[in-house]
Each structure stands twice: as structure tokens, then as C-alpha cells.
């Protein structure tokens, strides 16, 4: 099978890239475009490490074929904020000391950013369900909750 041309918007810039018909969106971003912020932790949509935004909705990019993104707008962690100009979520994650190994973090932040875009003042339970699709093995999620709550501008929630 011949490679196909994928035209879409990535991190607010128009992009054109050659992909294999079987490439996932994650493959296209990581292997064809060098955007390695999204991670592959399972390849089956169970861990959330590959979460990106497609038209501002959180998507497991390992479950979408690359060509399905044609004409759509994709945002990766690289398009959220940069060192020196961090997104409020990224800034809160650093200050709260959330990242340990860091592998899940891009996916968690993209899931949290999508949550806050839709629901700027979520309850603790809404935050927990908002990132329930993202597995983290290092942190136990507690500091994530504090960081997301703070970034949402709400007072830090229940601390048991």
C-alpha cells in the first residue's frame, strides 16, 4: 500500500505529512513529525499516556488512525505551553512536585486541560473522573488532584 498524505492542523499550524494507511495518529505525531510528548504506554487505549486533543476533545491518539485526523485540529502537549511560558496546569504540576518518572504526565495534563476547558470549576469527584482514564504508577494521584484544583482557580479541595 502506498503512503498517504495527511493534511491537518497541529498545535495551531497547518501540517502535511506522509503516513502509512495503518499508522495511528500517535504514530504520525511521534514517528513522522517528531512530536514525542504523547507517549505509548499500552497501544490499546487503556492507559491514557497518548492523550491529545482533537478539535479540543481529549482523545487516545493510539486508537485513532492517522488519516482519521484529516482536516481536524490536533493539539499535543507541545502545543499547550513551553518551558518559560507554561500553561497554568503545567505550572501547578511543577510547583506541586507532581511529576516523578513523568511518562504519564503529558497525557494527564492534556486530559485535565480538556476537563477544565469544558468545566472550569470542577469538583474533586469531577477531577477524579476527568483523569480516571490516565494511569499513573508513581504519584498515587494525590498531588495531581491538588495541582489541577489549584489550576482551576478553586480552593484546594478536600484533603483527607
Amino acid at each position: 500500500m502506498a503512503k498517504q498524505v495527511l493534511n491537518f492542523t497541529v498545535n495551531d499550524e497547518p501540517a502535511e505529512v506522509l503516513v502509512q494507511p495503518w499508522d495511528t495518529l500517535l504514530d504520525a505525531l511521534r514517528e513522522r513529525m517528531g512530536l514525542t510528548g504523547p507517549k505509548e504506554g499500552c497501544g490499546t487505549g487503556d492507559c491514557g499516556a497518548c492523550t491529545v486533543h482533537v478539535d479540543e476533545k481529549p482523545v487516545a491518539s493510539c486508537l485513532l488512525l492517522a488519516m482519521q485526523a484529516r482536516g481536524h485540529s490536533v493539539r499535543t502537549i507541545e502545543g499547550l505551553g513551553k518551558p518559560g511560558a507554561l500553561h497554568p496546569l503545567q505550572d501547578a504540576f511543577v510547583r506541586h512536585g507532581v511529576p516523578q518518572c513523568g511518562f504519564c504526565i503529558p497525557g494527564v495534563i492534556m486530559a485535565a486541560a480538556a476537563l477544565l476547558a469544558e468545566n472550569p470549576h470542577p469538583t474533586e469527584e469531577e477531577i477524579r473522573y476527568g483523569i480516571a482514564g490516565n494511569l499513573c504508577r508513581c504519584t498515587g494521584y494525590t498531588k495531581m488532584l491538588a495541582a489541577i484544583t489549584e489550576a482551576a482557580g478553586a480552593p484546594v479541595g478536600r484533603r483527607s
Binding site: Q20, W22, R30, E31, G34, L35, T36, G37, P38, K39, E40, G41, C42, G43, T44, D46, C47, A49, T76, I77, L80, G81, K82, P83, G84, L86, L89, Q90, F93, V94, R95, H96, G97, P99, Q100, C101, G102, F103, I105, P106, I109, I127, R128, Y129, I131, A132, N134, L135, C136, R137, C138, T139, G140, Y141, T142, K143, M144, L145, R159, S160
Partner: protein, 770 residues
């Protein structure tokens, strides 16, 4: 260890929750893991794995795979002359030679231009197997006549136990018997057990079972290998110990160690599972065969089917006590299912069972048993959660049966500093009593009766706690501290940072030298440039590398002061470091900047020696660290569902170098412990094939399953730790299984002894009790 620094003022260093310097790179996706590397000419590796747990390989035909366009190499064991039968470890068993011994064992390897081409090539390899009988259950496998796993004469592997350096004085031996799958045995005895049981009033006997579980790191195993024209190999690795990876790969491939450079990339979680080499040797062989850089990244399914999980542990435990609560006798048989290759930390299990509480008479037998499953490795405090689950569950039941306060009962019998452990080593200074006491002061423990009484709508409520810990590992290490020409400090170690240790080490360097943390940069060097160091495992990085960094920084400080003394014509003893200057005490105008000292160490024709502090210590004194955990739960007796309402972690860390990083360790460890308690199990069918090889079916806890994890840090200084610090990483994974089982009994009256404490098990136990 001297920890008193003479500085004019407090420096910004230890004791502060300073964010990790790699935080901004991690939250923006800039940090590079192995799978993010994409050098020119990169090839992708895939492994063909056996679908059978035990089979003879009759024939392998790779011709069709080799003919596929885009395929650059297809290798079987026959193509790798260094491979030998009787491989002692998984790393040595690069590809199966003539027999496969677990489902998922690699039998052929492919390197191709694209991952999809490599996968297609796997489908074109034709392997003819003759399926053999399988040893799937350790209790059956340890009997005479079971299907043999290892080749006759294969050596037992005890290097993991040595690497963790946790227990001495226990001899494990390999006994030749008709039970061919018993690869190690250990026995610890004291007193007269039979007589002591005869004199006991309350005898309790249980069998505890903890299944194989996976470490669960989010980043699957990955490695990139490349050779240069002179025959030097570079490995970009996801490892917990780059020097260990180098040694293992050198041993397997019969290369001199200085021909291999291991560059440790950011490690996306290890928890013990990335100590041993796994896919590095085959990737190196593929790179040599193709003269191209080759990257291999395991899939999650491969991780679950053919990673190196924690052993299944089965403990038959019998205890006897007097009616007044006097401990009399403990008898235990611990069976560690090691999978297809030896390597379990058998001695640790025995020591934990009989050493936490003071049993005057005990007899502990340990068996490492091989089965046709993937071989095991360490998982954060290897075998401690499993053994503490048994012994702490037992202590709770005894206390309940005697009608005494379970905390007082534990405190009465908890071994103290100087008491003899089961291997006759004395217990060293530790905070076991302080941790348990602090936990019992928590309002959730004091108000457990109110919590139980508050249950409504047919639900049941309970509270449980448990105490566990880790003895603390040791391993020689080294560090250098250099003064740069601009007055900043450069710290170099070879230690892989898997737990936020680099910021703690930088804080130690800052404090020991006498400058603020923002003047310090720390680097983890590769094996060509960094001082030799050990594994990031055994809760020993801060405890041991911290000492090396502290001493190297003190050494650099002394050199700095000597240079300044000459310059200022003053005695070294009258000097101190104040900000970015060395000054004469009491004469603040008389001083010289650190930058000028650093610059003179690097000037053409200068006679001033550059400041290079170094330390390369070895250690002999461990620092045990204890953790107590408390769970407040609600149980639905109809469904068996457990809702965790509150969870408290109390831990003795000696001295909190960076409290925020420590809290993160405590919270993350606790949630792994809760996963082991509540949901996690690798499940095998009777042919030893994994039935849940995905993260949908291997259920890890999510944010929605959990409350916030409350952390309470206790500081009982470790006499030999840097600034009193103890190891932090492992203790928090230990107590939750027993804490939850104790809470379930408090809520429902039923005692569960098999993990995970799943809704099905709980509901069935409640139904059969009523």
C-alpha cells in the same frame, strides 16, 4: 558521619520542598525516553514469542521472513554463537535454543525498516513446536515427578538478593532431590517449636497467597543499540542501574565492559522491574547484524506476558501464643514461585516472617520453586508486602482472639534496636515503634468505633492498620563535585534518578559545600564518564549516594578554602563561605569570590589546582525504615465492593531532605500497595498462559478509585545516613494488603487470606460465613 557545616548563614538546601529541575521538561513533553530517540538509519526490532509455556522447538524456518522487503535481519539462537544452554538468568536466555520454558519466551528476532514490516515478518517465521507437559502451579511443581523447568545443572541465581544487600547470614542452598523444580531452599530456626506449641493456649493456622503482580511502570521496556566501526557498543537504556546493565550485557555477549557505553535515558518507572537486563542483549545483536541503530520497545502485552513480575508467594503460617499474650512459637513455610528462572530473594522472606515480632521459638522453611511462567524480578521491597501481609494479618487475628488492643499487642512484641533478627543479625536503629505509635494517635484510629457505628443502608464500615518496612540496601558508589570557573558547582554521579533523588542529592551538595541550591547542577553521567555506582533500588540512593555526594562536596569545600587561605593569607579555620564568596570570619570585607577561585583552576599557566571533590564510599551499616498505614473503608456485603474512604501513611524517613518528593514516594508506594491489596493479579490458565494480558484486564487503581493519601513524616535520624536520612522508596508499598484485610475483618467479621481482596472473594466469604 559529621553533618555539622560551618557556614555564615543557612543555605537553601536540605529540608526544603524544592521542585525537581526536570519538572518543566516533564510537563511539556520535552524529556526524552528511549522510544523518543529516532537516529538516522533507525531500524525497529520485534520478537517472535512462544505461544506455549513448555515445548520443544523442532524446527524454525525463517526464509520467508528474510525475503520480505524492508527486513534487515532475522535471527534465531543458531545465529548467535555466544548463547549457551543452562542459561542462569533471563538476560542470558536471549533466544530459546531448543526448548521454550514459558509462554512469551523469544524464539526469533527481526529488525526491519518499519515496526509494521517487522511484525509482518514475525508472521512469516514458521516454528514447529512439540508441546510438553506444563508445571503451572508451584505447589504441584515442587513435587517429585513434575515437568522439569530448568536444564539439569543450571545454577540458582541469588544476585538479586545480593544486589538488595538486605540480609546476611542466611544460607540458601540448592539441594539435589527428586523435586527438580525447587531451585533454592532456606531454613531459619531457633528454640524448640514443638514444645512451645504444646505450651501455647491459642494456635492459629492460615495459608496466605499473593499472586504474581506486575510492577506496572507506564513506560514499557525499551532500548536503542548502536555499534561503531571500532566495535564499541552504545546502549540508550531505560534502566535502574546503567553499570549493572553494562555488566550483564558484557557477560551475555562476552564483551569487555569498557567496550560498552550505557547511556541511561529518563526511566519511565522501574520499581525493580528494570534492574535486570531483558531486551538489551538481543537488540545489541540485531544492531551488530545490521550495522544500523536498532530500537526495541516492548508492547504492553509483551510486558504483561513476558516481563519480569513479582513472584507468587504462598505462606503457610502457624503461630502459638499464651492466653496472656506471650508469643510462643511460629512455624512457616514460604513458597516463592520464581517462574522459569531462579532469582527470588528467598532469604528476605524468611527473615521478615520471623524478625518483625519477637518469637522465642520459630522454624521457617523457604522454597524457591520454578514453573513454566515468565521469570520474576524485584518489585519495590521484594517479598516484603507479601510476607508482612501474612505476619501482620496473623498478629491482628491473635489480638482479636485474645481481646487485646491490636496496636498495644504489636508494640509489646515489636523487635527493638539490638534485638536479634531471625538470622541473628541485631536490629539496627529504626523508627518502628515511633511510626506505629504515631499512627495509633490518628483520629481515624481513635474513632474507629464511631466509624463502624456510622454505617447505614446495609453497608458495613471498618478501620484497619498495619506496620511494615524494609531493611535498607547497601552498595558502593561514588560522586564528584567540581567548582566551575563562574563559581557554580557541578555534581556528577552515575546514579539513575528514578525517584526524585537527584534534587535531594543536589540539596545535600549545596548544604555540605555551603552554597544555595541554585548554584548546584547535578548530572547522571553515562558509564563511560561517571564514577562506578550501584542500582537505584533497595531504598539506598539517598542513603548511600547521598553520603558520597556529601563527602565529595565537603572535600571540594576544603579544597576551596585552602586555595582561599593562601590568597587571603589567613588560616583555613578562620574562613567560611558566605554567598558567592569565601570570607575571613568576622572580617566580611576580606574575601575572595568562588568564581575567582574556580577561574584560577582553569587559567592558562595557572598554578592553582582545579577544585575537584571526590568520594567513593562503601558501606556496612543498613538503615531499616518503617511505614504504617491505616485504611477506613466501607464494604457492600451484597457485592463485596470495598470503598476506600481514607488512607493514612506514616513513615520514618530519618531526615526529610525534600519533603514534597518524599510525600510523592509515600503516596505512590501506598497506591501500588493498595493495588496489590485490592485489584491486581496476573492470572494464568492451567497451561500457564496469561489470561489478562492488557491494562483493561490487569486492573490498576485510577484516580477515581482513591481518596487523597494523607502523609505523616516521622524523623528518627539514621546514625550513618546523610544528615540522618533513611531510604524512602520501598517501605510505603508494604503495609496496605494487611491494613485492608484487617479493615475488612473489622467491618464484616470475615478474614481473607488470599490477594487480591476482590469483590468476588469478599462477597463469597461473607455469604459463606452467614
Amino acid at each position: 558521619m559529621s553533618t555539622v557545616m560551618k557556614t555564615t548563614r543557612d543555605v537553601k538546601g536540605i529540608g526544603l520542598s524544592i521542585p525537581r529541575p526536570d519538572g518543566p521538561d516533564k510537563v511539556t513533553g520535552q524529556v526524552q525516553y528511549v522510544a523518543d530517540l529516532n537516529p538516522r538509519g533507525l531500524l525497529h526490532a520485534k520478537l517472535l514469542r512462544s505461544p506455549h509455556a513448555h515445548a520443544k522447538i523442532v524446527r524454525i524456518d525463517v526464509s520467508r521472513a528474510r525475503a520480505l522487503p524492508g527486513v534487515r535481519a532475522v535471527l534465531t539462537a543458531a545465529d548467535i554463537p555466544v548463547l549457551k544452554k543452562k542459561a542462569p538468568t533471563r538476560a542470558h536466555a536471549v533466544l530459546a535454543i531448543d526448548r521454550v520454558v514459558f509462554a512469551g519466551q523469544p524464539v526469533a528476532a527481526v529488525a526491519a525498516d518499519e515496526p509494521a514490516i517487522a511484525e509482518e515478518a514475525l508472521d512469516l517465521i514458521d516454528v514447529q513446536y512439540e508441546v510438553l507437559p506444563v508445571a503451572a502451579d508451584p505447589l504441584e511443581s515442587m513435587k517429585p515427578g513434575a515437568p522439569p523447568v530448568a536444564e539439569l545443572g543450571t545454577e540458582a541465581d541469588t544476585s538479586e538478593a545480593q544486589a538488595h544487600g538486605s540480609v546476611a547470614g542466611v544460607t540458601t542452598e540448592v539441594k539435589s532431590s527428586k523435586a527438580v523444580n525447587i531451585s533454592q531452599q532456606a531454613r531459619l530456626q531457633r528454640g524448640d517449636v514443638a514444645k512451645a506449641f504444646a505450651e501455647s493456649d491459642v494456635v492459629i493456622e492460615n495459608t496466605y497467597r499473593v499472586p504474581m503482580v506486575h510492577q506496572g511502570y507506564l513506560e514499557p521496556h525499551a532500548v536503542l543499540a548502536q555499534w561503531d566501526t571500532a566495535g564499541n557498543l552504545t546502549l540508550w537504556a531505560s534502566t535502574q542501574g546503567s553499570f549493572n546493565t553494562r555488566s550483564e550485557v558484557a557477560d551475555v555477549l562476552e564483551l569487555p565492559e569498557n567496550r560498552i557505553k550505557v547511556i541511561p535515558m529518563e526511566c519511565g518507572g522501574g520499581f525493580g522491574g528494570k534492574i535486570r537486563a531483558l531486551c538489551e542483549p538481543i537488540t545489541a545483536v540485531l544492531a551488530r547484524a545490521t550495522n544500523r541503530p536498532v530500537r526495541y520497545v516492548m508492547t504492553r502485552r509483551e510486558e504483561l506476558e513476558a516481563g519480569m513480575p513479582a513472584p507468587q508467594v504462598i505462606i503457610k503460617l502457624k503461630t502459638g501464643v499464651k492466653r496472656d499474650g506471650t508469643l510462643m512459637a511460629l512455624e512457616a513455610e514460604a513458597i516463592l514461585e520464581s517462574g522459569a528462572f531462579s532469582g527470588a530473594v528467598l532469604a528476605v522472606a524468611g527473615v521478615f516472617l520471623a524478625s518483625l515480632y519477637l518469637w522465642p521459638h520459630f522454624d521457617v522453611k523457604g522454597f524457591e520453586v520454578l514453573t513454566h511462567k515468565p521469570s520474576i524480578a524485584a518489585y519495590r521491597a521484594p517479598v516484603a508486602p507479601q510476607t508482612i501481609f501474612a505476619i501482620d494479618s496473623q498478629m491482628e487475628q491473635i489480638a482479636r482472639k485474645l481481646g487485646v488492643d491490636p496496636v498495644e499487642f504489636r508494640l509489646r512484641h515489636l523487635q527493638r534496636e539490638g534485638d536479634k533478627m531471625a538470622n541473628n543479625q541485631p536490629w539496627l536503629s529504626n523508627g518502628g515503634v515511633e511510626v506505629l505509635t504515631r499512627l495509633a494517635e490518628h483520629p481515624f484510629w481513635k474513632k474507629r468505633a464511631e466509624w463502624k457505628a456510622s454505617a447505614k443502608d446495609g453497608k458495613l464500615r471498618g478501620t484497619g492498620l498495619s506496620l511494615g518496612g524494609w531493611l535498607g540496601g547497601l552498595q558502593p558508589t561514588g560522586a564528584t563535585v567540581r567548582l566551575n570557573p563562574d563559581g557554580t558547582l557541578q555534581v556528577l554521579t552515575g546514579q539513575v534518578d528514578i525517584a526524585g533523588t537527584n534534587i535531594a542529592l543536589a540539596q545535600i551538595a549545596a548544604t555540605a559545600y555551603g552554597v544555595d541550591i541554585d548554584k548546584v547542577k547535578i548530572t547522571t553521567g553515562d558509564t563511560d564518564v561517571a564514577p562506578l555506582t550501584g542500582l537505584s533500588a533497595g531504598s539506598k540512593t539517598t542513603y548511600t549516594v547521598g553520603v558520597a555526594v556529601m563527602q565529595a562536596a565537603q572535600n571540594a569545600r576544603n579544597q576551596t578554602l585552602e586555595i582561599a587561605a593562601k590568597e587571603l593569607e589567613a588560616s583555613v579555620h578562620d574562613l567560611e563561605i558566605d554567598g558567592d564568596r569565601v570570607v575571613v570570619r568576622g572580617v566580611p570585607d576580606k574575601g575572595v569570590t568562588l568564581a575567582s577561585i574556580g577561574k584560577k583552576g582553569n587559567l592558562y599557566m595557572s598554578k592553582v589546582e582545579p577544585v575537584l571533590g571526590a568520594s567513593h564510599p562503601a558501606f556496612s551499616v543498613q538503615a531499616p525504615a518503617f511505614c504504617g498505614q491505616l485504611a477506613r473503608i466501607e464494604v457492600d456485603p451484597d457485592t463485596g465492593e470495598v470503598t476506600l474512604h481514607n488512607f493514612v501513611v506514616v513513615q520514618d524517613v530519618g531526615k526529610a531532605i525534600n519533603p514534597a518528593q518524599i510525600e510523592g514516594q509515600m503516596q505512590g508506594g501506598a497506591v501500588q500497595s493498595l493495588g496489590m491489596a485490592l485489584t491486581e493479579a496476573l492470572m494464568y490458565d492451567d497451561k500457564a498462559r496469561l489470561t489478562n494480558p492488557s491494562l483493561l484486564d490487569y486492573r490498576k487503581l485510577t484516580a477515581a478509585d482513591l481518596p487523597n493519601i494523607e502523609t505523616i513524616i516521622v524523623e528518627k535520624p539514621a546514625p550513618h545516613g546523610p544528615f540522618g536520612a533513611r531510604g524512602v522508596g520501598e517501605p510505603p508499598i508494604v503495609p496496605a494488603p494487611a491494613a485492608i484485610a484487617n479493615a475488612i475483618e473489622d467491618a464484616t467479621g470475615v478474614r481473607l487470606t488470599h490477594l487480591p481482596l476482590s469483590p468476588e472473594r469478599i462477597a463469597l466469604a461473607i455469604a459463606s460465613a452467614s
